[in-house]
């Protein structure tokens, strides 16, 4: 925290003052590929905080480095400049405390394991005694509306169901933060809305910190406490907005709220400009 306090951070405080502690702090994070002479800059000087219990949405055009930021946050990638701290300590590599939900759910699930087996992988990783796996897994499957699917293999499920399995597996690792990389991008509109609402409910119940990547403006506004707009070449934050819409949100009323429309209008203009 001391490093964060020493520097002025242009990040508005989150909705609730009680959750104002930063879970993740990014300070001047940059990423470049290649040698220093002809290095290709992917990300440039990204500085922001992710606060405990908030849903932060990153939205931007394809190729702006959204996914790269998420991989940096998970520890799968290391920045070439700047620093990323998680709960005050610099990130050295991936950790179970930061779960990542990949967009390509079909590649991220183990095809030879059943739904229950896939969720149990996280429990095995946490070395939870096997006799308590059944109970934990069925509770998680119930939470994700997957009760009937425990014995099925991923290939037997629809895309929405597979993504639910991946989220259940991430929850089973008991993360402190959920990193989601366009998790609903490959799903149809109906399924996407259902999963959005399930995510909001889940986040509210568990006071989960979520970083959510999307290219869908409306999804970002609907889900987020804050929305960051990214510009490309190199990827950087060009705008931050605080979403002042009340919770719980609803697909019908929230999306018709004048504030929702105003945010959408503004962000749409920003993204068009780039």
């Amino acid at each position: 925290m001391s490093a964060g306090a020493a520097r002025v951070v242009a990040t508005p405080a989150p909705a609730s003052a009680a959750s104002a502690r930063a879970a993740l702090e990014l300070r001047g994070v940059g990423l470049a590929f290649g040698s220093s002479a002809d290095a290709r800059k992917i990300l440039d000087d990204i500085t922001f905080d992710v606060f405990q219990g908030e849903i932060l949405c990153l939205v931007g055009p394809s190729g702006c480095g959204k996914t790269t930021i998420l991989r940096l946050l998970s520890g799968l990638l290391q920045p070439s400049s700047g620093e990323i701290r998680f709960e005050g300590a610099a990130i050295a590599g991936p950790s179970r405390s930061r779960a990542i939900v990949f967009q390509d759910y079909s590649n991220a699930l183990l095809p030879w394991r059943t739904v229950a087996g896939n969720v149990a992988l996280s429990l095995e990783a946490r070395k939870v005694p096997p006799q308590s796996h059944g109970e934990i897994v069925s509770a998680l499957l119930k939470k994700m509306n997957l009760q009937g699917a425990a014995g099925q293999y991923p290939s037997q499920l629809s895309g929405g169901m597979q993504q639910r399995v991946q989220i259940a597996r991430c929850l089973a690792q008991q993360p402190k933060i959920l990193l989601m990389d366009e998790p609903f991008g490959a799903l149809d509109a109906m399924t996407r809305q259902a999963l959005q609402d399930e995510l909001l409910q889940l986040a509210a119940e568990q006071k989960m910190t979520v970083v959510f990547i999307t290219h869908d403006l409306e999804e970002a506004i609907y889900l987020g406490d804050r929305v960051f707009v990214l510009g490309s070449n190199p990827g950087r934050i060009i705008e931050q907005i605080k979403v002042d819409l009340p919770r719980p949100r609803s697909q019908l009323e929230t999306r018709e709220d004048w504030r929702f429309l105003a945010h959408r209008h503004r962000l749409f203009g920003l993204l068009q400009g780039h």
Binding site: L76, S95, A108, L110, W112, R113, L121, S122, E124, A125
Partner: protein
């Protein structure tokens, strides 16, 4: 059943023609026995146990060689598949050894082990290890990178990553290599027996020929084809129950 009858028509007809023409004197070759004589010789071999003993000896050597090849192939293949550096160092040596025909090692193996099971088993291993090794290298290298990322985020230990992710993910393609190797195992075992090793079906075959027991030679040949067919049929059944064999599969 109907398919079986249709498929059996041609062989039955040939055997009948063969029997009739050799009895009527139409066919007179020293290298051709009558089907009835062949049947008698075959039944005789089965009755006195000599055929079954020879079958077991061949089978034993093929199985020993194959199992060793599976062990070595999967182990070395996994290491080479995971580590690009190791592959760069060992790869050229492997490529230099691979084109040498397995039977070319018969003299060396004979010097090292003498006649018997180990000598034959080593030749079988040499022949069988290549498809399994290469299959495993490609299987391990072709694993979905996402699964490795899942393993990293879950902080799985190396052993857990091997056992829960890499081996099950690679198993389907490793299986293909094993299947090819099974085909090699019997062929190479019989070949070694025919050329040099005084045991097993290959040796009985060459012994029957050399002692001018042409009927017995044919009977052995038929028996060999039956054994090969039975092994293939058994393997087809293994494929059906494969999901149950998958490592790390949990309910």
């Amino acid at each position: 059943m109907q398919r079986f009858v249709r498929g059996a028509m041609l062989p039955v007809l040939i055997v009948l023609l063969w029997e009739v023409s050799s009895r009527t004197g139409l066919l007179q070759f020293e290298s051709l026995s009558r089907p009835s004589d062949i049947l008698a010789a075959g039944l005789g071999g089965l009755a006195d146990g000599s055929t079954l003993l020879a079958t077991w000896q061949t089978f034993e050597a093929a199985l020993f060689g194959l199992l060793l090849a599976i062990l070595v192939g999967i182990l070395a293949g996994t290491i080479l598949g995971l580590s690009a550096t190791t592959e760069r160092i060992v790869g050229p040596t492997i490529e230099a050894f691979r084109p040498i025909p397995a039977v070319a090692f018969i003299p060396l193996s004979l010097l090292l082990f003498g006649f018997g099971l180990p000598m034959e088993g080593m030749i079988v291993t040499y022949a069988c290890v290549w498809p399994i090794l290469l299959g495993t290298i490609h299987a391990v290298r072709g694993i979905e990178p996402r699964l490795n990322e899942v393993a990293r985020v879950l902080e799985l230990s190396f052993a857990a990553r091997m056992w829960k992710i890499i081996l099950p993910a690679a198993l389907a393609r490793i299986n293909v290599g094993i299947r090819v190797a099974v085909g090699f195992a019997l062929v190479v075992a019989v070949t070694v027996e025919i050329i040099v090793n005084p045991r097993g079906l290959g040796y009985s075959l060459i012994l029957a020929q050399q002692s001018l027991r042409v009927d017995l030679m044919y009977a052995q040949l038929l028996w060999l084809s039956f054994v090969g067919y039975a092994i293939n049929a058994a393997l087809r059944n293994v494929k059906v129950s494969q999901p149950a064999l998958l490592v790390g599969a949990r309910p």
